[in-house]
Symmetry: none
Subunit: 209 residues, 4 copies
DNA sequence: TATGAATGAGGGTTCATTCAT
DNA sequence: CATGAATGAACCCTCATTCAT
């Protein structure tokens, strides 16, 4: 039985997509060549243009996957009735899970989205939206009396996201693997612990550092 | 009185350097053209090659300035007798001061860390060294009993640096100006407060979030 | 009937090759521009890079053709049972035939031997090998008692090849055509006569010159 | 006592000239940079243009030295009453002496004059003149009954000069030094022997090779 | 669908030459 | 005389994109 054309199209498109994921990660957007991606996908480079408008379009497809998944998570998080701790935990775990399951994707996020000035304008909006949602979570926490109110919600956001991003970055740059769930747990706990309770040794409250 | 040639040479080199700073910031390494930099400097593009070996060399000169200054600060910090709070405060203020005085430089630092012609290794090495020094400060803090020891020193480092970097990034991306010293103070305090004492509302210790 | 793609590819490659042959001959390696070659071939310059890695690669392809053909001849010559006279005659005729059929090629051989991007080593190696083979022929002649033994075989080689090469060079520089087989015969005979029997008027042996 | 300016000018010019000799030999005309020559001469590159019109002019000065010296020798040779053997011997020794005393010069002759297609037009004339003079010597020899007349005088010229040039070329390419006068003598004798008496083993006259 | 030949804009780099000092 | 800063023509090469087959 012959597969439907749509099915075939989808498959080939996926092959190209994943090849692009790999090549963009290895070389970065500018140095990645369509020919590299085609070779990785095992097709001719002309074919790429049947499935994607151009290099930019292919790259955007990857970005969309990233942001859509992230937004979906964020919306779920917002809709849910969970407390602040669980919500922040979910965000961290989302990044760590993606790091495990799709390291190319998060590599690209770190290198090409989070840290890249080229063609930044449109991408910045995505980033801002993500920050705004996170800020909402922080504000909720402040309203609920869980978070201190003497620090602006967006400051709390920067601190939280920045700390997390650096964890991921270090792993990405160091090509570290996440060995097991324990490690994921330790990272998550460390992040939340310090963010929520601080790095200061307990009992030192108010003492001179 | 005639200026020495060395003086003149230095001046022109500086003009090119600053033009490069601006153009690299605006366009990123890949999209920045030597011709752009020359135009910005008000010279012909050929002259750039009298002062710098090539585009890469010019870019590296910029990065070196950044890292050398940063290392100088870190060494001062290490040599000093100050307590943990003052040390971390100095690091943050260094970034904020640089942001005020040389926003292009810090922009490039934020955006172009992973950019390099072929091997980003050398630049990562710079970064790692910076992290190692910071980790030393954290370890000192743990030994001195100022910082909790149930979280690894390098985790503390990631959280601290990541949080700070994101503050800067947000300002960079948003083209925000630091209006006055008060704002610098507020940012510094917020960062240190959360890092050291946590974001959790005091009195909530142990309470359900 | 549709031609195979390989066939087409080969054809176009040949067109470029022959254009290069012509341009390299006219301008020499350094002054020959890829754009010239492309124009000569009636294609865009970018296409040259589909068939050859770069200018150097294209040039090497030409040299390889020359050397491979020459080596093929030399090996045939060595395998054959012919006497010295026939062997030397074959070598001369090979050069003269090539001059007739592919004057560009021999022009390049004559002019560009020492030309190379950085290291002329590889090309000299080719030349040396050619000389070594010829020297073998001379040594055979000495062993067989056909050639005088009071002069080293490689000296005989220099004299023979040098004389021949200059014949060709003069024709190349003077843009002389070989008009007919008689001329070829005369050149060959003159060379062999002088090389083998000397330029001295017979009967003058030992007389004062 | 202060030297006259003309004296100084001459000295500096000579320094540049000799630097050029060295650099042109090492890199060839195209790859030799004025900056290289100036550095070799220990002066600034702008100064080169005070003494020579441009790169081409500097190169021509070298060529002129070569050709003028060679012509001087040839004229002396022609004016003298020496026999053919002595004349040819003088030519060979001139090349070998120059190889000993000014290897850069003869290197350039071999690489840039004898074998070079670029800017060849004007240089070719020099070469032709040299050949014409040599041909005159050969014709004299034929008239005097010293050389066989069944071979055209210019053929004899090609054979003689070609053989000699290849000797020099091999030494140049192989970076061989002339160790002593004996070697010079052996080369000269071998060349003249083969050219005049032939390579064939004596007593084999007419025998099948 | 699929291929890869073909195009040409674009940019880095070199270096001879000029000229103000 | 001497310097070397300054200029810009020249040219190699890359690679995204198009399109005939």
């Amino acid at each position: 039985m012959k597969k439907g054309n749509g099915q075939l199209r989808l498959e080939k498109q996926t092959v190209i997509f994943e090849a692009a994921l790999k090549v963009f990660r290895q070389k970065g957007f500018h140095k990645a060549r369509i020919a590299d991606i085609a070779a990785q996908a095992g097709i001719s480079y002309g074919l790429v243009y049947h499935y994607y408008r151009n290099k930019e379009g292919l790259f955007n497809a990857i970005l969309n996957l990233w942001w859509e998944d992230l937004y979906r998570l964020m919306e779920e998080t917002q809709r849910g009735k969970e407390d602040l701790y669980q919500r922040l935990r979910k965000i961290i775990l989302y990044f760590l899970d993606t790091y495990q399951n799709n390291p190319d994707l998060i590599h690209i996020f770190i290198n090409e989205i989070s840290r890249s000035s080229s063609n930044l304008k449109p991408r910045l909006e995505y980033f801002k939206k993500f920050m705004v949602i996170t800020e909402g979570i922080m504000a909720d926490g402040q309203e609920a009396g869980c978070l201190r109110q003497d620090i602006e919600a967006h400051y709390l956001t920067y601190i939280f996201l920045g700390a997390m991003e650096t964890f991921i970055s270090v792993m990405v740059y160091g090509n570290q693997k996440i060995k097991n769930d324990q490690q994921k747990e330790r990272i998550t706990t460390s992040l939340l612990e310090v963010f929520l309770h601080g790095a200061q040794k307990s009992g030192q409250e108010g003492a001179k550092l």
